[in-house]
Subunit: 331 residues, 4 copies
């Protein structure tokens, strides 16, 4: 089918390419006209403006917005609200906060514009591996865009079927087995993607701490008989085979460690996107104890400071009751 | 090659089977003679005592001990110290604390008995998938038992080679790519396995918290427009394809959720084996902040109480300063 | 001065009493007319309705709202917005979310009604000890109600002056030394109170965990030589004198332990009010790692479940990879 | 009574002074003879060696060791084992690991030397405020040294009696109300002190995080209407009066903030002594979930790194799956 792809960054451009490979017609638009031109050379129709992109579509028009969450996405969705009409579909494939989805869908509803939120996982590998898609929206809107989703998704591939599913599903294959899922009404897709990323933070931090412990097993303060100089790259590699901790994130860690056992070139300054924060906030709203997901988030917060003010408070207290003055600033 | 397998529980029996399938000769012994008999019917030589098992081997004798860590393993290793002699090899394949390995190896050294510690991951699936093996010990002892390790390990299988390895390794394949690794001197194998399990706790807890948040997204206290009744089994399934959180643990979760979306039949009472505790202790000894691994451990501790004494202290404080008396016991 | 006190629960009634003792005139109102009558017998003017309470005041009218945060406070503030006029002051002394303060103040501004938020700490002891008051609002509104605040606050008492203050303050005494403080514009009072309660959660949990460790030092699984049967009440008592961990919360713990060393009668089912949650959310909004405050909150969440769904997920995973089936439900 | 004080650092010297003020005779020894001389000028008998110190005492000799835990204390206790005899008492007033106490007491028992472990809290303020003392050892050894303990302890002072104690204790005053306590057999004193310090870490971290959140409430990324520039010194001050979070640690924080609201001169590089680590280890040995105490410890570990290896692992993973390369080292 034909759709417009708004936003041709790393994710949007690759998704457009995968869609074209899958036989879909893509009208490409980005504020950066170089990106548009490049997609044009690869077979996409090009648009010079949002209005131009919309004008090249026929009803019901489908517009996939693939922009940074927050203001950029907000502005484009608002503009599309003016340009589109009854029966048309806006897909937000970015990392939007699910409460924003709900608000937007409600604002668009009076005009008959349908809003679909798609949480998209896959990173730079998605163009070849396919993207895991978590979708929220009205069932008929989901049905309408399903051909696109099927193309973007990885498909069943050679991943073995989950034992017990066949019976549970009456033998039918679910779209989840192809890598895309209608999770529920508007917001549900981004909600599930949000938790997905929260879990991702936790998984990453678990590996990170483990490798940190392995690394420091060679520490000179340890008794010599309990000190080990371990080859982290080899350990990551062996865990890829037959072990309980095997995962794609481990595969990626193994790649990085194969390149540099010291992870030279990586700063250890770690950003967080919104989903980790929202996941913890959702946990709090639900009164779910989410120790690990929170700790993983905080490790990132902490990684971006030389010292927190909290640590200075600790230093100050220690000084005041014990007379300890630790490494004075600038000293 | 020929070896004795001491301990025919779930792990030991299956490993003996995989070894026999791989052409090795196994002398099987367990205190439970039914288990011995069963292995005998499957082709193993049977032993009526530890001494009998040892007597059926030729020098250098190789004895694989596959027993619960702690007292059971300790007793057998001690007994083997009496039965074996110079050049013989004791392999401890259980979940021993690495400091116990170091102590034992030192005790056995004067007699010339070599001690090899093997951390073994794979669970009930290992018989077919193979076991991931992390090995500590002297290089020549490792070399001696390598034929066994190669058979137990999964081999490279269809797992794609880590990009960048070929160059880093000068093209040669490492044993890590077959699923077993000589990690270092005695204790190193169990140290790496210990951290492996620590990571496993963290990974499990990350998934567990995430699914808890998904589950409680339907909570009645949430505003109706932000409430979602999600199908956890379908979500686990879709994440298996193309997503960043794909892993073997997720595959297992998908199986469990396919059987029962409510996880009926699971109590939520969660044991911990020693490795999670030792991992946190190692982190503390190394001064490595291990928030996530610790939290994962504590979640298990907490799961085994109706209420902790700490919680009663909280109740008591709240009562004393605010006059709150919450759900009095038995009230 | 004269003011209306709306809400005569544990906090409101005691504050009205302390104000009357301090020479202020209080018009008392509560939906529960018994509470009103009781205050009337103690010297307050009584009101039969909100309108009646307001009618008994002269401009600029001062109304102190002391109700549960959320809907009850919201409704009364809205109603007062209809009843009051330019120059009048609404004080919200409850535990309101600071963002609600900001919203309300903005809604009341066009009518010239001034909004003051007061975070109030002191619990059931405040009537005698005085209340610690954290105030947000316009400076002139703060000035207007200062006589009330001074009466409610504890005053300097016999608490020694903080060394170094005299110089820093040019010798003048700050209101903070009397126990009340103008923290900033609207919302600042409740923001500071919110963090205060967040800290309180953390402090409480620190003591709770410590006493839990002391309690379990008698555990039978510990080696006998490292096992201690400790008298927790005596320990709390000794820490009250000269120790670094001395505090009012410890004093309260000592009271509870003197009554019952086992804390019999306390369930360990621990509620949380909103402030702990909002503190963690504020930390996340500010990207401040707040491990301890979050953990303290989660301990309370966890205390209210037999088992979390997360724990069932752990049980399920363990069963699937290791064949462990732990204490099946109903088994 | 007469005793030797071995170790005249900040703690030992001040304790010697307080003892002399209380009428006891102190034989002072330290490897640093300047420290010995200074104490001599203040009235202590001086010793030129450990043997000389012992020689100046009469049976039963009492020697208080006040040295850094670990090797320094170990060496002196061993030497005293040679110098002392039946009926003599060694008091270890430092921060020794309780398992070391147990081991030492057992080694000294055959010679009839009694070992008493005393956990000592009070810091630089103890000389005037008195020291809170937690004591382990045989009851008769405790009785023997009680005159010293009573002098060192703060006494009841003006701290109000815990309500309910009088009845519970049959009216009698416990030594805990004077600030010292016989906690149990050898090791119990240091065990209780260890947990005391673990709690202290948790309390400190709770305040530290709270002040960090207050500090960052002025962050420019926050919406302007929810942004507050707060005076932390004034807030610490107001909390000292009537609030639930009042404590000695808060008093100390107020002092530091009165000196410098930015805590200029404090690095935020925070050491940990052994007790925090041992507390967490004890919690793990007892299977007590100690989230807050552990997090407080880890915050200190983390404070001493520019970046952890764990953070580099996170950076590397993010790069590999998302193409993010964050602030490359040296870039």
């Amino acid at each position: 089918m034909k759709l417009a792809m708004i936003g041709l960054g790393r994710m949007g451009a690759n998704m457009a390419r995968r869609l074209m490979r899958g036989g879909h017609e893509v009208v490409a638009f980005d504020l950066n006209q170089d990106s548009v031109k490049r997609l044009g050379e690869e077979g996409a129709a090009t648009a010079s403006s949002l209005g131009d992109a919309v004008a090249q579509l026929a009803s019901p028009r489908v517009v996939w917005v693939m922009l940074p969450a927050g203001a950029p996405t907000e502005r484009v969705v608002e503009a599309l609200g003016e340009l589109l009409g009854a029966g048309d579909v806006i897909i937000d494939g970015g990392n939007t906060y699910f409460k924003d989805d709900v608000r937007r869908a409600r604002a668009l509803a009076p005009k008959g514009i349908r809003y679909v939120d798609v949480g998209t996982s896959g990173g730079v590998w998605g163009i070849d591996r396919g993207y895991c898609l978590m979708v929220g929206g009205a069932p008929e809107a989901f049905a309408l865009v399903q051909p696109i989703l099927r193309t973007l998704a990885p498909g069943p591939g050679d991943i073995p079927r989950t034992p017990g599913r066949q019976e549970a599903q009456g033998g039918a294959q679910s779209t989840s087995e192809e890598g895309y899922l209608h999770c529920g009404p508007v917001g549900a897709g981004h909600f599930v993607k949000m938790v997905h990323n929260g879990i991702e933070y936790g998984l990453m931090q678990a590996y990170a701490e483990g490798f940190d412990i392995l690394k420091n097993a060679a520490g000179e303060r340890l008794p010599e008989e309990h000190r080990y100089a371990l080859d982290l790259g080899e350990i990551a590699e062996v865990w890829r085979r037959g072990s309980v901790v095997g995962s794609w994130l481990l595969d990626l860690t193994a790649i990085a460690l194969a390149e540099s056992p010291e992870l030279a070139g990586y700063s250890g300054f770690v950003q967080d996107s919104g989903e980790g924060r929202w996941t913890v906030m959702a946990a709090i709203e639900e009164a779910v104890p989410a120790e690990v997901l929170s700790s993983a988030l905080y490790a990132r917060f902490r990684s971006r400071h030389d010292h927190t003010f909290a640590e200075k408070v600790l230093s100050a207290m220690r000084h005041k009751f014990g007379g300890h003055l630790e490494r004075p600033a600038g000293g």
